[in-house]
Every structure is written in structure tokens, then in C-alpha cells.
């Protein structure tokens, strides 16, 4: 029996999440793992926007900021439970993406890039300057989510970093499953059609504006969830989470791994999250190496690392 592409991707992902801890020499690696999953989740959203729909966003960290600060502020100011705050944060992000997306998704190429960049910077500035609400540039505490205690109560007693590794891993699996389902759904087909050619898509009856907006809103929810996970795990957030470098990092991960493939993009997130940890000895050269890798991938593997490597293997088979 031949596995569908979707099941194969999910199986590989599940196996990776479940089996890699065998190689972990200390629980620090669980922390790195959980960061990879969080970035992987955000990047899965970027795949829907960049890979499926062919749109660009340089401001998605803004939504992560909204997700993170929802977890920090709603419990303190309105007594809302932290986990509900994360859900509300995702809803706010979706609404905001809907409102912002309507006008700016009419733009294309560079103009869209700059408009989304502006959005991200606006969120960052609001988080930095409205100190009476957000605690300002020094950041603010996030109340304990109680998730780990809940796990303890049902007999799963894990160290903090281990707990978040598994929790983020499960969230990533759900995120990837949804994204893969979307790919084969009518919406996914419409998105891919408009990616190929907007005019052609329109002539066959695809409501281009509506589908672009959908992709934008969905990816915003992914980014918001990633931001919430960072906040819940660290129990502390600073406005840096919404910084534009963060947005650009996510786009880089997506493109490096392969914008058209969920597994590829998560792979890209893995590499770019691991690299700074591997390179602490050469911290000064880190940016240099990153730039070099990016350039080489763009020149020799235009579809991104994973898809290009896969094609190479398949090419030999056939």
C-alpha cells in the first residue's frame, strides 16, 4: 500500500518528535527542541501564505506579539485564565489580520512586503511604548499556565523543558495536520491556483481576494499560537518577540527549507534554530555563515533544501 503524501509527512514528523530525545545528552536539548517546534508552527503558517498562496509577509511577528501579550495581559487585567487568553489572542490576531489584510492584500510584491513590514513594526512600537499596559521595553511576566501541574496531576511528571518539548511537539503535529489537510482541500487548490496565475484563477471562478485573505488570516493564527507558546513556556515576554527581525527570520526559515512543503519549512526552522546554538563558539561569524548558507541554497536549490534534496533522490530512482 502506498502512503499518501500527507500521512507520510505526518508519520515522519511524529517519528522525529518521538525519537530524537533518545540522542539528548541533557534536558537543555528539550528546550532547543521546543523552540524548533514553536518556530516550526509559525513557519507552517508561513507555508500556507507563501508556499500555497504565493503572498509575502514581513510582519508576522506582530501576530506573535499579540498572541504572547494576550497570555501576559488578559489574566492580569481581566482575570481571564491563561489558556483561554491564548485562544482569545488567536481570535484577535485573526480579526486584525482580516481588517489589515483586506486593504493590503490588494498590493503585490514589494508593496505587499513593505505594508506587512509596517504592520509588524506598528505592533512592536505599540508594545514598547504603551508601558502602562504592556510593561514597556523591559517586558512583563506571564502567569503560570498550570499545564505542567495538570500533567503532574494525571501522573506525567516531567521537567519544565521536557514538558514543553512534548507539548509544543503535539501542537506542531496538530498545526501540520491542519495545514496538510488544507493543501488538498478545495481552498488549498484555489490558493495554489492563484499562486500559479491570479488571472487564470479568476477566469475559472476563484474569488482571488477572498482566498488570499483566508491564507493571511490562517497564517496569522499560526503565528499568534507560536507567540502564545513562547510566552507560556518562558513565563516572560518582551516586545522583541514582535520585532521585525523575527518576522524576517520566519520568512528565511520558510524559504530555506522549502516554501511549498510543510516538512521542508519545519526542517528550515530546525536548521536556523539549531545553528546559533552550534555556532556559539564562533558567535562573530554566525551571521556570515547564515548569509552564506542562504545564498548557496538560493543559487543551487531554489525550491528550498528539502524539496531539492528529495527531487535529487527521486531523480535517481526513476
Amino acid at each position: 500500500m502506498r502512503l499518501s503524501n500527507k500521512s507520510a509527512t505526518l508519520l515522519v514528523l511524529a517519528a522525529l518528535i518521538a525519537l530524537t530525545p533518545i540522542f539528548f545528552p541533557s534536558s537543555f536539548y528539550y528546550r532547543v527542541g521546543s523552540l524548533i517546534f514553536i518556530n516550526g508552527l509559525a513557519v507552517t503558517g508561513m507555508v500556507i501564505l507563501i508556499g500555497y498562496a504565493g503572498q509575502i509577509s514581513l510582519g508576522h511577528a506582530g501576530f506573535a506579539g499579540i498572541g504572547a501579550y494576550s497570555c501576559a495581559l488578559m489574566p492580569v487585567h481581566w482575570g481571564i485564565p491563561v489558556l483561554l487568553a491564548a485562544v482569545l489572542g488567536a481570535i484577535i490576531s485573526a480579526l486584525l489580520a482580516f481588517l489589515v489584510g483586506r486593504p493590503i492584500l490588494r498590493l503585490k510584491g514589494y508593496y505587499l512586503g513593505v505594508a506587512t513590514l509596517g504592520f509588524g513594526i506598528l505592533v512592536y512600537m505599540a508594545l514598547t511604548n504603551e508601558a502602562w499596559l504592556t510593561g514597556g521595553p523591559d517586558g512583563t511576566q506571564v502567569p503560570d499556565s498550570g499545564l505542567r501541574d495538570a500533567a503532574k496531576a494525571i501522573g506525567i511528571n516531567l521537567k519544565n523543558s521536557e514538558f514543553w518539548y512534548w507539548f509544543c511537539g503535539v501542537v506542531l503535529m496538530i498545526g501540520a495536520w491542519l495545514a496538510l489537510n488544507l493543501y488538498v482541500s478545495p481552498t488549498g487548490r484555489a490558493l495554489r491556483a492563484l499562486h500559479g496565475s491570479e488571472i487564470a484563477a479568476r477566469t475559472v471562478g476563484v474569488d482571488v481576494a477572498r482566498y488570499k485573505l483566508q491564507a493571511f488570516v490562517i497564517s496569522a493564527v499560526y503565528a499568534s499560537a507560536a507567540g502564545s507558546l513562547v510566552a507560556l513556556q518562558n513565563q516572560f515576554v518582551t516586545p522583541d518577540i514582535a520585532g521585525y527581525m523575527h518576522s524576517i527570520e520566519w520568512v528565511t526559515m520558510t524559504v530555506l527549507g522549502g516554501a511549498g512543503s510543510v516538512l521542508g519549512a519545519i526542517f528550515g526552522a530546525g536548521i536556523l534554530t539549531l545553528l546559533p546554538q552550534v555556532l556559539t563558539m564562533f558567535a562573530e561569524y554566525e551571521q556570515l555563515l547564515l548569509g552564506l548558507i542562504m545564498m548557496l541554497v538560493m543559487i543551487f536549490m531554489r525550491d528550498g533544501l528539502l524539496p531539492s534534496v528529495l527531487r535529487l533522490i527521486r531523480g535517481k530512482d526513476e
Binding site: V12, T20, F28, D138, S161, F236, T238, D240, L274
Partner: protein
């Protein structure tokens, strides 16, 4: 493909495993790069220089120090990751660092959880209030700076103060602290203006303050903002004297503002900047002169109070490990808390279970800039 990915991951992981040593592992996570690099860079250089010196002299209790510094770039999330790495992977017995308040606050839960003593180099008062048993800090707080400045103003008969603050972390935090202690210090804030840290002109804000009847002006900020405020203050010929914060306590500030504009500006700062002007009997004089000379000889750069904070943290830690006679984190923590009469670059440090800052207002000197040089105000 599963296997392919697994081997890649395994290879990547083994590449960053650090060999374990029998030495004393001391960790640090500092902002050597990024916007706070002007703080983190002298801190890292100071730590490396002083650890080499201690090791050359035989280490602590006969054991060599193995110093592990990570560059968090001032990013709270990265700092948190490095904190986990220091605890879980490098198995450090104590940690110095957190150049700024955000990363410090993000790291605290890790050290609290792992029960590792942590000495922060960041300014805000919330790091040690309420007291966390595992967290200490060496720099003066911004609240102390406010109190010192207000005391100086009151002694000269100024009770109406106009504030102008940067909107960065340092400026905002100090603005809030100053407003909090104004009433208790006997001054009234009659104007409260804000500027962006990158702004090139603060004339409108200063004009507002000029019209508010302020008798003295207090600028809370660091970086280039205070230099612009100082220039604009002179250009507008405002009579009310200008006070800066300890955040500008480096030679660079006078250069940026210009000798003429900086003339007469007052600020609270550690004695490090005026080492040679301290009276000969002062117990702090040999400490600050020794550190300054060593730092300037090693790096060829002007000494700043920021590197001094790292110096203080390292030697408090060294004394504590010697006193504890052990490298058990809990024993070190107890010994740090008993630190008494320690003379550092920031002043005399006396920690107690209720006080993990350990400095009094006497640790600040009130300085005035005269002819482009720092002088002590009597």
C-alpha cells in the same frame, strides 16, 4: 528520509556538546552584540580578563575557573535558552549576567527552578524586589539614582522638577521610579516629557518644560538621546540646571554632547569615573584605580561603570566560593547572601536575606562636568 533527518540532527547535536571539566564552571549570558552591546561588551571583556587573572594566580580554592559566556544579544527568549543551556548542559555552579532587565527577568525562573545562584548586571529594582533567594544584583537601581538627584536638587532649593525621558527600557523604568519617589523626596514633577531614543531634536519637549516653571530638569535616558537633550538645553539657553542619569556615565557622553554644552551638567555615578579624585584614605580608591588601569591596559578603551558591575559580580562570587569552601550552588548562595563590607567598583556591598542589592545611596557620587571632565560635587 527518517534516517537521513535523524543522523543530521544527531550530528548537529554532538557538534555542540561541551566536554565536562573538573573545574569550577561559572556561566554568563550577556548582550555582547545588539542594541545593549555598549553595556554587554565591557562586561564580557572584564569577565574574561579577570578570570584569566584569577586562574593565573591559582584559581579559587586551588581550582581553576571555567568561564562560559554566551551572547544573547539582549533578546529575552535567547537569554532564556542560554540560561537552560548553562544549567543543564554546562552544569555551572553560578551565573553572572543578564545585561539588561528583560533578559534577566526571563532567566530568573530557570535559575530559581535549578537552584543556582544568579548575579544580575541589570538596573531595574524589580529584579531584587521582592527578594528572590537565588537572585542578586550589583548595579545601583534607577530608584537610587532618582533619590540621589532629588536630594541634590532639594539641597540647592529646587523643588519644581521638569522630567524628560527616553522611551527605551532604561528611560521608561527610571521615569516611573522617579515619579514614584518624587513626593517622598520633597520635589514636585511639573512637566513630564518623552522622546524616542533615536530622535535628533528635543527642542519642543524642552520648550514645554521651560514654560512649566521647572527649577531643574531631569533627563532619564541612555545612549545618544541625553547628548541631544544636553545640546538643546544649551541652545535654548534654559536657566534651570540639567541633571542626567547614571546611564550616561561614560566619556562618550561628553564627546557627543560637546564640552561646552555639557558644562555644569550633574549626574549620579559610581566612584569609578573619578578614581583619582577620591581622597587618599578612601577604601574604594585602590579597587577602582586597579580595575580601571587593568581594563584600559588590556582593552585600550575607556573604562565604564558597566564593566565595573561585572567586576563586582565576579569578585563577590569568588569571595563567596572561598568562604563556602565548596562549589555546591546552595552553599555558594548562602555565602553570597552573607557578603558584608565587600568593596567593589559600585561601592560597599552588604547583602542580607532582605536586601539582595546591598548598596546604599552613599555608593553614588554626585558628579558635575567641568571643562569636559568629571568632578565630584562637595
Amino acid at each position: 528520509m527518517t534516517f537521513r533527518n535523524l543522523t543530521t540532527t544527531a550530528a548537529a547535536i554532538s557538534a555542540f556538546a561541551v566536554p565536562a571539566m573538573a573545574d569550577i564552571n561559572i556561566g554568563a549570558s550577556l548582550a555582547e552584540t545588539g542594541p545593549a552591546a555598549f553595556l554587554g561588551d565591557p562586561e564580557a571583556k572584564t569577565l574574561r580578563m579577570e578570570v584569566d587573572k584569577i586562574n593565573a594566580a591559582g584559581g579559587i580554592n586551588g581550582e581553576q575557573i571555567n568561564l562560559i559566556i554566551y551572547d544573547d544579544g539582549g533578546d529575552a527568549n535567547k537569554a532564556r535558552t542560554f540560561a537552560t543551556r548553562l544549567v543543564e548542559d554546562d552544569e555551572v555552579v553560578a551565573v553572572i549576567g543578564g545585561t539588561t532587565t528583560g533578559p534577566t527577568m526571563a532567566m530568573i525562573p530557570v535559575f530559581e527552578d535549578a537552584e543556582i545562584p544568579f548575579i544580575s548586571l541589570a538596573g531595574a529594582v524589580e529584579i531584587v524586589e521582592p527578594v528572590n533567594p537565588w537572585v542578586f544584583k550589583t548595579p545601583h537601581t534607577d530608584r537610587m539614582a532618582c533619590e540621589k538627584i532629588f536630594a541634590d536638587m532639594v539641597s540647592q532649593g529646587f523643588t519644581k522638577v521638569g522630567m524628560i525621558s527616553g522611551s527605551d527600557g532604561f528611560g521608561k523604568s527610571m521615569q516611573a521610579q522617579c515619579k514614584g519617589v518624587a513626593e517622598a523626596s520633597g520635589v514636585e514633577i511639573v512637566a513630564d516629557e518623552v522622546y524616542g531614543p533615536q530622535d535628533a531634536d528635543m527642542t519642543p519637549q524642552l520648550t514645554n518644560i521651560k514654560g512649566s516653571g521647572a527649577q531643574a530638569i531631569l533627563n532619564s535616558g541612555m545612549g545618544q538621546g541625553p547628548a541631544v537633550v544636553t545640546r538643546n538645553h544649551t541652545q535654548l539657553a534654559i536657566d534651570a540646571p540639567l541633571y542626567q542619569s547614571h546611564g550616561v556615565a561614560s566619556k562618550q557622553f561628553i564627546e557627543l554632547a560637546g564640552t561646552e554644552a555639557a558644562e555644569g551638567v550633574r549626574l549620579p555615578a559610581a566612584a569609578l569615573l573619578v578614581a583619582d579624585q577620591l581622597p587618599d584614605g578612601d577604601a574604594q580608591k585602590p579597587v577602582v584605580q586597579g580595575y580601571r588601569d587593568a581594563y584600559e591596559a588590556e582593552t585600550g578603551e575607556d573604562v565604564s561603570t558597566f564593566g565595573g558591575h561585572a567586576y563586582d559580580a565576579l569578585y563577590i562570587l569568588k569571595a563567596a566560593i572561598e568562604k563556602a569552601g565548596s562549589t555546591e550552588p546552595a552553599a555558594i548562595r548562602d555565602a553570597i547572601e552573607q557578603t558584608a563590607g565587600f568593596m567593589g567598583t559600585a561601592g560597599e556591598v552588604n547583602y542580607s536575606p532582605e536586601d539582595h542589592l546591598g548598596l546604599t545611596l552613599d555608593a553614588f557620587e554626585m558628579l558635575e562636568i567641568k571643562n569636559g571632565e568629571w568632578t565630584i560635587v562637595e
